[in-house]
């Protein structure tokens, strides 16, 4: 079947089987390899994308169901070519990336969290990433990265007189 997908602000008209998951469609048809195929049944969280701004599992949705809704993948969060988003930057600085397998999903979950709650507590960060497995078990640095990114994003575009 023919569908139109809106991914990272670009419309793609593609031919998919009804059984093609959104994940396989992103990876194999649109060559966006940032969404990782981990368990492929909704347990690991590595395939997370933003569906209308909300973090969802792309392996638990068929591409045909996603037609017409804006989708953001890790490839869509950078401000420009060769640049990193503040969250990606914070992951680098705190060594939150480890092997990198869970990272795109962790970054997207952090994007969704910080868009909704610019000042999350540690518990809220832990809760937000609780659906994403890091097999390196480097959760401490991931939590640190998200807290650092939150702090920087809150500080951006604020007059110095208001900064702590």
């Amino acid at each position: 079947m023919r569908i139109e997908l809106n991914v990272n602000g670009t419309l793609h008209e593609i031919e998919v089987e009804p059984r093609t998951t959104l994940l396989d469609c992103l990876r194999d048809l649109l060559d966006l390899k940032g969404a990782h195929a981990g368990c492929e049944h909704g347990v690991c969280g590595a395939c997370t994308v933003l569906f209308d701004g909300v973090a969802v599992r792309s392996c638990l949705m068929f591409a045909a169901q996603a037609a017409g809704t804006p989708i953001t993948t890790i490839e869509g969060v950078t401000p420009g070519p060769g640049e990193l988003s503040p969250i990606q930057d914070a992951f680098c600085e705190t060594h939150g990336t480890q092997c990198g397998y869970c990272t795109p999903a962790m970054v997207l979950v952090a994007h969704a969290l910080l868009a909704d709650n610019p000042e999350p507590t540690r518990d809220q960060i832990v809760e937000a990433i609780s659906g994403n497995i890091c097999r390196c078990t480097g959760y401490a640095q991931i939590v640190e990265a998200i807290a650092l990114a939150a702090e920087r994003m809150r500080g951006a575009n604020r007059p110095r007189s208001l900064s702590k």
């Binding site: 998951t21 492929e40 045909a64």
Partner: protein, 299 residues
């Protein structure tokens, strides 16, 4: 991990969905898909056609229709989680929802989908049974309602007729000044399937005694159960810890508890007694205006 081939149809309204369902015995409705899709990729489910009801706007709502808080079948769990009406009028539901899966699955998972799926360990069937919710469905041209206690009859088995499509659920609202709720579950990891869960809602009278109580236990048996005998014994009592423990223990003495690799029947029975007692204790504190306890059932 790829699903077997199927046809995909997106229904514009409930009439269309029901017509398609009636036309094909092997067709299945897909709502949030957070259980159905894993079952399909593991080839435990092989529907010939998926009927997508996600875009039927009339199935997504939360409103008090006079008889209670009615929630449309495709209303997302994350929407109910944040809804002010639900928090105010069906606090037990609001209390239980954060325990369903993870934020990313609640973003897609629906109220009706979880109820229709009838997993013994799922939170929503437990809350529906505890609060005597009424489910509504369409089958062909017919619209019907069914009480939650008559809906769930086995693990992943309901009395929804073949070709039927769940359309909504209505939770009754307890009126009263002092209403409190409690919910507890144990699982291996945060938000995993519960080994045992328990929910309680109480109403205290002006004298502080129990005016009304509902206690439910999930994941321990083939489908969630109500502790009717305990509720009868405890109504009118002061709900002190000993009394509650004895009543709950008696109600759970003869249950045919599920057993698997992770939790034996004996463990489930024991955990059910403890969690149900804790849920009642939390509900009493909550009704007395003390701060609600967060779920802290880690081993």
């Amino acid at each position: 991990m790829k699903a077997a081939p199927f046809e995909y149809s997106r229904a514009a309204d409930i009439d269309e969905a029901c017509a398609w369902l009636a036309a094909d015995d092997s067709a299945r409705v897909i709502a949030g898909g957070q259980t159905l899709v894993p079952m399909m990729v593991m080839r435990l489910a092989r529907p010939t056609r998926l009927i997508d009801i996600n875009r039927i706007a009339a199935l997504s709502y939360i409103r008090n229709d006079g008889d209670g808080v009615a929630i449309g079948a495709t209303t997302r769990q994350c929407v109910v989680e944040r809804d002010a009406l639900v928090a105010a009028q069906v606090p037990l539901l609001a209390r239980a929802i954060p325990n369903i899966g993870h934020a990313a699955t609640r973003a897609r998972g629906t109220i009706g989908g979880s109820l229709a799926n009838a997993d013994p360990a799922a939170e929503l069937p437990l809350i529906a049974i505890t609060l005597d919710a009424v489910l509504s469905y369409r089958a062909g041209e017919e619209t019907a309602e069914i009480p939650a206690r008559e809906f769930f009859i086995g693990p992943m088995i309901t009395t929804l007729p073949a070709g039927g499509c769940l359309t909504g659920v209505r939770f009754s609202v307890w009126q009263g000044e002092k209403i409190g709720v409690g919910f507890h579950e144990v699982n291996a990891r945060r938000s995993d399937f519960a080994f045992v869960s328990a929910a309680a809602q109480v109403e205290l009278g002006a004298d502080g005694k129990c005016k009304r109580i509902a206690i439910g236990v999930g994941a321990a048996t083939d489908f969630p159960m109500r502790l009717d005998s305990a509720e009868q014994q405890l109504t009118g009592s002061t709900l002190d810890a000993k009394e509650v423990d004895a009543a709950v223990r008696e109600a759970l003495a003869d249950i045919d508890a599920l057993a698997d690799l992770h939790a034996s029947a004996e463990y489930r029975r024991r955990a059910a007694i403890n969690l149900a007692s804790r849920a009642v204790a939390d509900a009493v504190s909550h009704a007395q205006g003390k701060k609600a306890q967060r779920n802290a059932d880690a081993h």
